[in-house]
């Protein structure tokens, strides 16, 4: 059995986890997604059975495939200009064919690509979360001004606004960048109706938090961590970036754990990072899940958590491993701290990312 990681080898989670797996004796293959260069080429052969080659690696029965961060297909820039649109589309369809086929092979996919595509939709997340018994804040997703104003008129609770997908703006002629972030908004601050149609948005009743929780789903096991910021920030990501956060393991209420596992089963995912807000009454509110979510930063802030080791135990154990099995196996793997202190981390190969950034330049 080998572990195939669909991501650049120098991705910030792939590099340490590949190193740790190899230290423990596992074979690891990285492939960043379909591209025209040799290392990103792929071949699907059908001749009675099927054979998949990703870069220089064959996908074999029994392999574990972690679809960590597949990159957009990258066509050869030397293609003739009149053929570029055709080539781009062919690359796109071939990429999708490859990723969707993976879950039908006799391998374990974390997560199946089809499940990833579906659960990345925030509307699907909220629907499945509520349906499976999680508390979900009242939410309106809309580009209809009347629906926005109705929400603000019909509830006196505080509201937040957030985007469906992050975006970064760069000031022209400057290094200054701004990123979308959840923010509080009042009825008085709403813009003209026309502006509300410029981009759909997510409007949600604000949960006045006692603290945040980041939960990591590992198959049938959940690991929850409280996140405390000095100023009780609405969005803790900024505080993480600046090192102003306290991370502690926290017990998951039984009803929340059961609901998350039911949610995950219905969504078809084995792994994901869930965000919850815990209110002053101790009630857990589901905010969102990211099935590609990052988790090594938890070890950075609290090395006793051992998320790197837990994740690798989960990855290399058969599907459905219990918490006890994960905790028993995790001692086979070195920690994030070990990686940080390892000279090997300096030897991660350079891989050029040629895709354009999700970036707008503004005056």
């Amino acid at each position: 059995m080998k572990v195939v990681i669909v991501a650049f080898a120098n991705d910030n989670h792939t590099a340490p986890l590949k190193w740790a797996l190899e230290q423990a004796g596992y074979q690891v293959a990285c492939w960043a997604g379909v591209g025209w260069k040799e290392g990103r080429q792929a071949t699907l052969s059908f001749n009675g059975g099927v054979r998949m080659v990703l870069g220089s690696h064959t996908v074999d029965p029994g392999d574990v495939v972690w679809i960590r961060r597949p990159n957009p297909p990258l066509a050869n820039p030397n293609v003739a200009a009149p053929d570029k649109a055709f080539a781009d589309e062919e690359y796109r369809w071939f990429s999708l064919s490859t990723l969707y086929l993976l879950e039908h092979l006799p391998v374990r996919c974390i997560n199946p690509y089809s499940a990833s595509r579906v659960i990345n939709n925030k509307a699907v997340q909220l629907y499945l979360a509520a349906r499976n018994g999680l508390n979900v804040p009242a939410t309106v997703m809309t580009n209809a001004p009347s629906a926005v104003r109705d929400m603000f008129e019909n509830s006196s609770r505080r509201k937040i606004c957030k985007a469906f997908f992050p975006h970064i703006w760069k000031k022209e002629g400057s290094e200054a960048l701004a990123v979308t972030e959840t923010f509080e908004i009042t009825a008085e601050a709403l813009p003209d109706d026309e502006v509300l149609t410029y981009a759909p948005a997510i409007y949600q009743e604000m949960i006045v938090k006692a603290f945040d929780v980041r939960m990591v789903l590992l198959g049938s096991t959940v690991c929850s961590f409280s996140l405390h910021t000095p100023n009780g920030a609405l969005d803790w990501r900024q505080e993480v970036g600046q090192g102003h956060i306290t991370v502690e393991e926290v017990a998951t209420p039984c009803d929340v754990e059961g609901a998350v596992l039911a949610f995950s089963q219905e969504a078809g995912i084995e792994f994901g990072s869930f965000d919850f807000a815990v209110d002053q009454d101790g009630r857990w509110w589901f905010l969102e899940v990211n099935e590609e979510g990052q988790f090594l930063w938890l070890d950075e802030f609290n090395p006793a958590i051992c998320m790197q080791e837990k994740f690798l135990a989960f990855l290399t154990l058969p599907k459905g491993a219990s918490r006890e099995e994960i905790e028993k196996k995790q001692i086979e793997f070195p920690s994030w701290k070990d990686y940080r202190q390892s000279p090997q981390k300096e030897q991660v190969p350079e891989e050029v990312h040629l895709a354009a950034p999700i970036l707008s330049v503004e005056p």
Binding site: N71, S116, C161, L190, N290
Partner: protein, 53 residues
Amino acid sequence: MQTKSKRVLNREGARELTPQEVENISRGGGAHTETVCSFDPVTKTPDGDVGEC
């Protein structure tokens, strides 16, 4: 009379990145092996969360 902004609402709530975060991005988005939490605008993953931590 104050002229109301014509920018999308989420731009109004966008946060300026810190110099450290800007540096992370300028070094290549996902191509970090030293930072465990980063914005990742360069890889342009269609379904990924580039602001995810």
